[in-house]
């Protein structure tokens, strides 16, 4: 069974952490993954940096720019994590924009992910219809779960289509925003969380965008399976480096 599905089947709220590979230092990748697992995180999203991250706010943009400047690239990331399964068993997702994957070669990319033991991909700018027409078979062949996003503006009809196309979980963007743009949740989010909950989707939802501490984590997971922290963790790394990852995680839960 895919590690993501295994984890989702456990009776607990999921804490997922995103970080940008190659940041703060080029060689931090493995240590960050190991420390996150040790700290009790449930799922890790490894960000493949991109020059033009359209859906990201300043924090993740800056970490991407810095990572690229440090010399991060796709092949190097694969090289860094090639033995990662010898030391961790946590579900791992690669998150990035589609162009670097396209240039690497989608098939070769998927093959490499399977070899290493990557469990899923999040490629926000690979649209649902193109995925289904061109890449679904390939992803499945290499046992990769593709995670789709929904937002408060996504219509019920499209949410159902995305639910049908998904296996694993749905990445529920908490508000109309780029990453790190807002913190905290209001009425609007509550009614959105309720609306999605009422839809009784077959896939669990994990909320991303706007979660930075225990309070927002608890709010986000009241009606959902879990939550993702990205920008707040990157900020923590910027300020504290990689030595106090356990301290960050223990503040969340």
């Amino acid at each position: 069974m895919n590690r993501i599905k295994q984890k989702l089947s456990e009776d607990k709220k999921i804490l997922s952490i995103y970080f940008t590979a190659g940041y703060p230092k080029l060689d931090d990748t493995v240590q960050i993954i190991q420390d996150l697992e040790k700290s009790g995180v449930d799922l890790i999203e490894i960000g493949l940096p991109f020059s033009d991250p359209l859906a990201d706010g300043p924090t993740i943009q800056e970490s991407s720019t810095a990572a690229l400047k440090n010399g991060m690239h796709t092949e190097l990331l694969f090289e860094q994590i090639k033995d990662i399964r010898k030391s961790v068993s946590i579900p791992l997702i690669l998150m990035g924009y589609f162009n670097p994957v396209l240039q690497y070669g989608v098939e070769k990319f998927c093959q490499k992910c399977e070899e290493i033991g990557i469990d899923g991909l999040i490629l926000p700018d690979l649209p649902l219809d193109v995925y289904q027409e061109e890449y679904e078979a390939l992803f499945k062949k290499h046992r990769l779960i593709n995670v789709f996003l929904i937002t408060p503006q996504t219509s019920d009809e499209r949410i159902k289509a995305i639910d049908d196309a998904s296996e694993g979980f749905i990445y529920m963007v908490s508000s109309a925003s780029t990453t790190g743009a807002k913190s905290g949740f209001g009425e609007e989010q509550s009614s959105y969380f309720q609306r999605i909950s009422n839809m009784q989707l077959k896939n669990p939802q994990i909320v991303g965008f706007g979660i930075s501490n225990a309070e927002t984590f608890n709010q986000a997971t009241e009606k959902t399976k879990g939550a993702i922290i990205g920008s707040a963790f990157i900020k923590h790394l910027t300020e504290n480096g990689v030595d106090s990852i356990g301290g960050f995680v223990s503040q969340i839960r």
Binding site: F50, D52, L54, N99, D125, S155, A176, S177
Partner: protein
């Protein structure tokens, strides 16, 4: 084979909408409505009226006698430089502001490189009394002060894009991020035939008035609708899309797209996307773009701010790949000389973008009785400082 966009916004293998889900509702709303709105009689009437009374259309098709004599062929200039605001850009912004009104939007955002599209957007927002925010790279703000001032005078807010390389592609990223954060009341006026479907097709349709006029004007002057060649410069490619539009599926008309070679195609400082680009995704569109082997988008260079975009619109990528279009690249030096030559021979100071199109005649020879229409996309006022510096005037 058709060279127009299909229903999903593909030109051959290029185009489409590679957008994060956050942009899907906005692009989908536009996709479902744009053709229907453009075909409404009330829309057409208002669009045409404004093009006539406000922009000053039709722009002349001018037979450049002395230039023709020099190059021993028949050269016509389509005078988009005479449009209000100084370039063809306003054709599109007029169309899109009317579109935004029909869609009930109250706020406009735009990206700009040199500032021409920003000025054209600020202009129509002033005309309609709609709030306008223009994103512009921090570096471009510093080097295009007059256009920044124009936008401010027209009531627009100019926001600096401080991410990445701080130029046009980053201004576009920032505008897209703004749209993600303001998904309900805001319309994004993209300035070229780039971006996710339906933008390339919509902008091409608004700009198609250029070739529509060329047809009727040429009929009057030469007793024929079709020239032998139509020539235009290509950055993202909106003036070219407009000049080529009604000739795309007419194979007897040669299409010549002129890119900026900068300091030379292989100098490392170039914007010749057809020669240097590979298939990839930029700003939601699958097209040819300049990038590293790892798929990171690189920064192009041209003396002309309007041509230094790292990609081309998907229509042009398809024209290149299919062989329908002939692609020529012109260096900074060749363009500057051609610009000065037009001043001396015809008394017209062209934008440096347009000078690239004029520069092909040195090496690309035509028959004596060939009719060659060059789209003179903009005037050179905005480029005076560049001309002054280059020629030490």
């Amino acid at each position: 084979m058709s060279y127009h966009a299909d229903e999903k916004g593909y030109y051959g293998e290029f185009g489409g909408a590679f957008i994060p889900e956050m942009l899907y509702p906005n692009c989908e709303e536009l996709r479902q409505n744009y053709i229907q709105i453009m075909e409404e009689p009330s829309f057409k009437q208002e669009f045409q009226q404004l093009l006539k009374d406000y922009v000053g259309r039709p722009t002349p098709l001018y037979f450049a006698k002395r230039l023709s004599e020099k190059f021993n062929t028949k050269i016509y200039l389509k005078r988009e430089d005479l449009c209000h605001t100084g370039a063809h850009k306003v054709n599109n912004t007029i169309g899109q502001i009317l579109m935004a009104k029909k869609l009930g939007k109250h706020r406009i955002i735009a990206e700009t490189g040199a500032g021409q599209h920003g000025v054209a957007t600020a202009t129509v927002c002033a005309l309609m009394g709609i709030e306008c925010v223009v994103y512009m790279g921090e570096i471009d703000i510093a080097r295009q002060a007059p256009n920044v001032a124009r936008m401010k005078m027209l009531g627009a807010e100019v926001r600096a894009a401080k991410s990445g390389s701080k130029t046009l592609k980053d201004a576009t990223n920032e505008a897209i991020r703004d749209w993600i954060n303001n998904p309900v009341d805001t319309h994004y006026i993209i300035g070229s035939v780039v971006g996710p479907h339906p933008y390339p097709d919509m902008v091409a349709r608004f700009q198609s008035v250029i070739s529509e006029e060329i047809k009727s004007q040429l009929l009057e002057k030469e007793d024929r609708e079709n020239p032998d060649y139509v020539v235009a410069c290509v950055g993202g490619g909106s003036n070219a899309a407009g000049a080529f539009y009604h000739y795309l599926d007419t194979p007897e008309v040669g299409i010549i797209a002129v890119e900026a070679a900068g300091k030379g195609i292989h100098s490392g400082e170039s914007a010749a996307t057809s020669a240097l680009g590979k298939v990839g995704i930029i700003h939601g569109s699958k097209t040819l773009l300049m990038q590293t082997a790892d798929g990171q988008i690189t920064e192009p260079y041209s003396i002309s701010a309007g041509l230094d975009y790292p990609g081309v619109g998907p229509m042009h990528a398809h024209l290149y790949k299919s062989g329908r279009g002939e692609f020529i690249s012109i260096t900074d030096d060749e363009a500057m000389q051609a610009g000065l030559e037009l001043c001396k021979l015809e008394g017209i100071i062209p934008a440096i973008e347009s000078s690239h199109a004029l520069a092909i005649f040195e090496d690309r020879k035509f028959k004596e009785d060939d009719v060659v229409v060059v789209n003179l996309s903009g005037r050179g006022d905005k480029d005076l400082q560049n001309y002054i510096d280059y020629f030490k005037l």
